[in-house]
């Protein structure tokens, strides 16, 4: 592993640890707001324990990562890549919102095409055609054949 990769890994560890510490606070606050029962072990016991563990392990990851990153140098993650990631997340959220309105086939075809283009597909027209085919096939198999009811748009698919 090169030093750049190690730094990237340490940065990710530290960030993950930080998120765990934040989550630990949320879990502990949530646990403190539960009503106690007369059982030997109430509903708050498990979340309290898990919250503490989240905090300790997250803290350890932060310390480990930060100690490695103490000597500041090297570049952060390429902003273009982060933008691609943000675009993908936006695409997934848009898919979730649009799915009940436009129906499965149209939304999924758009999801496939968008994702493939973000991942570096060369021919937009071909990707759209693949997306339609795959989404239509999935709809036929899962909705019509297997009987999973997928959302349909105003046009019935």
């Amino acid at each position: 592993m090169t030093e750049d990769q190690e730094r990237a890994q340490a940065r990710a560890s530290a960030l993950l640890g930080l998120i765990m510490v934040v989550a630990a606070v949320v879990v502990l606050v949530d646990a403190a707001n539960l009503r106690e029962s007369d059982d030997a072990l109430g509903p708050a016991a498990a979340p309290t324990l898990i919250g503490l563990l989240l905090g300790v392990l997250g803290g350890a990851l932060v310390v480990q990562g930060v100690r490695f990153l103490r000597t500041p140098q090297g570049s952060a993650l390429d902003p273009r890549r982060l933008r691609r990631l943000a675009a993908m997340v936006a695409l997934l959220i848009a898919f979730a919102l649009v799915l009940p309105i436009l129906g499965y086939v149209v939304s999924s075809a758009a999801l496939f095409a968008g994702a493939a283009l973000l991942l570096g597909a060369p021919h937009p027209a071909r990707v759209v055609a693949y997306g339609w085919t795959l989404a239509a096939l999935a709809f036929l198999i899962f909705d019509r054949l297997i009987g999973l009811s997928l959302p349909t748009g105003p046009w019935g698919f």
């Binding site: 990237a8 890994q9 990710a12 560890s13 960030l15 993950l16 998120i19 765990m20 989550a23 949320v26 879990v27 949530d30 539960l34 009503r35 029962s37 059982d39 030997a40 072990l41 509903p43 016991a45 498990a46 979340p47 898990i50 563990l53 989240l54 392990l57 990851l61 480990q64 993650l77 890549r81 982060l82 990631l85 993908m88 997340v89 997934l92 959220i93 898919f95 979730a96 799915l99 009940p100 999924s108 999801l111 496939f112 994702a115 493939a116 283009l117 991942l119 570096g120 597909a121 990707v127 693949y130 997306g131 795959l134 989404a135 999935a138 899962f142 297997i146 009987g147 999973l148 997928l150």
Partner: protein, 506 residues
């Protein structure tokens, strides 16, 4: 024995044979795709089985499980991108063999080794499962608590680069397992008033998010480098010499894989590496290791498949999943209205035996399907990465929608996918999170049940000899790595080389 024959009679009806064939075919086809290991294969294909009657669904599901295992080894050998850490050892020698033009032999020894190990493993499962179920029927909550403690510690210690990272993953999974309504008091925990969080986060969603979305996002961030598919020449057959070198390795791999897989401890990775080390030590061709030694493919691949059968022992008889794949299988059982555990064999015996019979049948089908068709599977690998990952995304969303059915579930999927990406970047293994998600709520339930029975007396947890032994195992597993390190430092030996993480297995 009678029950097994009845199981075969159930599994061999034309309709059920068809389901088995469909299962192994799509299981292999999906398992072959790079970056998709058995756990994800099983999770992605679960919706297909939803509307079948339970016997057909279980039989198809067994086919998908074994098919995913077979498909994964093809990818490891031809592409060197193992879909799960249990196939890393296969990739070590297998990809080297493929690079030196011996891909056909590597695939053949992997397929036949899988068949041998899978069949012996299934026979051992047939014998062991009813026996273990008989013992387990006497287990009370204290035994379950101790067993799960063993699973927690071993899963975090064994399924990752370090105890800290393994434990972090386990606790992340346990946190997700908290979400939902507390069964004892009816209060909601960590649901924040969101309706789809009230019934908890579905395992399928977590598996799909952490494995599939994590992998897709990682590809996006890393920039997709073109990976090299090794060409496949000739038919997948073994020469006499290859066969002579392979068969002892198949049997040794099986002998290591099944017993370790069937322990209520962390899964299938360890036996594959043990088998690799053993073959390297025993081989007369030790100089070939690192350049493509056939024993180094035959042993670990057999160990992997035997362990996959072994993992079903604690799963079916105790209800204890010890790998990510087993955790998904447990959910599948529950969605068919079955609860794995000691009662399973008495209450739904017919279904279980039909399942076990279809494991034998699936193995035969896979051998028949794989040796002649391996070129077809290999062609799937030439689908460009953007096509594979966009397709995976499409089916990931479909699986999530099938499991949850709301927009909120898709949002949860996206958020967890980002967590999966971060875990991958930080080299934190994903599998313990899935095990934690399933086991932590069970652990809490059994612990509370134990304390309710003893009216709050904690000593109930060590009230029988078995529980005492299990707790000692927990303590040993926690302190053993430290003691080993200390011992080595005393003797002035260097620490052993870190386990090689070829590609990004998790």
């Amino acid at each position: 024995m009678d029950q097994l024959l009845t199981g075969f009679a159930d599994a061999l009806t034309p309709a059920n044979l068809l389901w088995a064939l469909v299962g192994v075919t799509i299981g292999t086809a999906v398992g072959v795709l790079p970056g998709i290991g058995p756990a994800l294969t099983v999770a992605l294909l679960l919706p297909i089985t939803f509307r079948l009657e339970p016997a057909g669904a279980l039989i198809m599901f067994a086919g998908i499980y074994y098919g995913g295992m077979y498909g994964g080894s093809t990818t490891s050998i031809l592409l060197n991108t193992p879909g799960e850490s249990a196939s890393v050892a296969t990739a070590l020698e297998g990809n080297k063999m493929a690079r030196s033009g011996r891909a056909a032999a590597a695939l053949a020894t992997a397929a036949i080794g899988s068949f041998v190990a899978g069949t012996i493993g299934t026979i051992a499962l047939t014998v062991a499962a009813p026996l273990v179920a008989d013992i387990a029927i006497g287990f009370g909550p204290p035994e379950y608590v101790a067993l799960m403690a063993v699973a927690f510690v071993t899963v975090s210690a064994l399924l990752g680069p370090s105890l800290l990272k393994g434990a972090a993953s386990l606790v992340i999974g346990a946190t997700l397992g908290l979400v939902g309504i507390d069964t004892l008091t009816g209060q909601s925990r960590l649901a924040f008033g969101v309706p789809s969080l009230l019934d908890g986060i579905d395992v399928v969603i977590v598996v799909v998010a952490l494995f599939a979305l994590g992998e897709t996002f990682a590809h996006l961030v890393a920039g997709t480098g073109a990976s090299r598919v090794e060409p496949l020449r000739g038919a997948a057959v073994l020469s006499r010499d290859d066969f002579r070198r392979s068969w002892p390795a198949w049997l040794r791999g099986t002998a290591i894989g099944f017993p370790i897989g069937s322990l209520p401890a962390g899964g299938a990775d360890v036996p594959t590496f043990l088998s690799y080390g053993l073959e390297k030590r025993l081989s007369k061709h030790r100089h070939e290791f690192g350049h493509g030694a056939i024993e180094g493919v035959a042993g670990p691949e057999s160990a992997n498949n035997a362990a996959a059968a072994g993992v079903l022992v604690p799963l079916l008889t105790i209800g204890l999943p010890t790998s990510a794949t087993a955790a998904v299988i447990l959910t599948a059982f529950q969605s068919y209205g079955l609860q794995p555990g000691p009662q399973l064999f008495t209450e739904s015996g017919d279904l279980v035996w039909a399942l076990i019979a279809s494991l034998y049948i699936g193995n035969v089908l896979l051998l028949v399907l794989n040796l002649p068709l391996v070129r077809v599977w290999a062609r799937l690998l030439t689908i460009p990465a953007y096509g594979i990952y966009a397709g995976v995304l499409l089916f990931a969303c479909l699986g999530t929608y099938a499991a949850g059915g709301t927009t909120a579930d898709l949002m949860i999927l996206t958020v967890l996918g980002l967590v999966g990406l971060l875990m991958r970047r930080a080299d934190v293994p994903v599998a313990p999170a899935v095990v934690g998600l399933i086991l932590a709520p069970l652990f809490e339930q059994q612990l509370r049940r134990a304390l309710a029975l003893s009216e709050g007396d904690w000593s109930v947890l060590v009230s029988t000899p078995l529980t005492v032994i299990l707790w000692i195992v927990v303590v040993l597993a926690l302190i053993a790595p430290g003691i080993f390190a200390l011992y080595r430092r005393r003797r002035g030996e260097p620490a052993p080389a870190e386990r090689e993480h070829a590609g990004d297995p998790r």
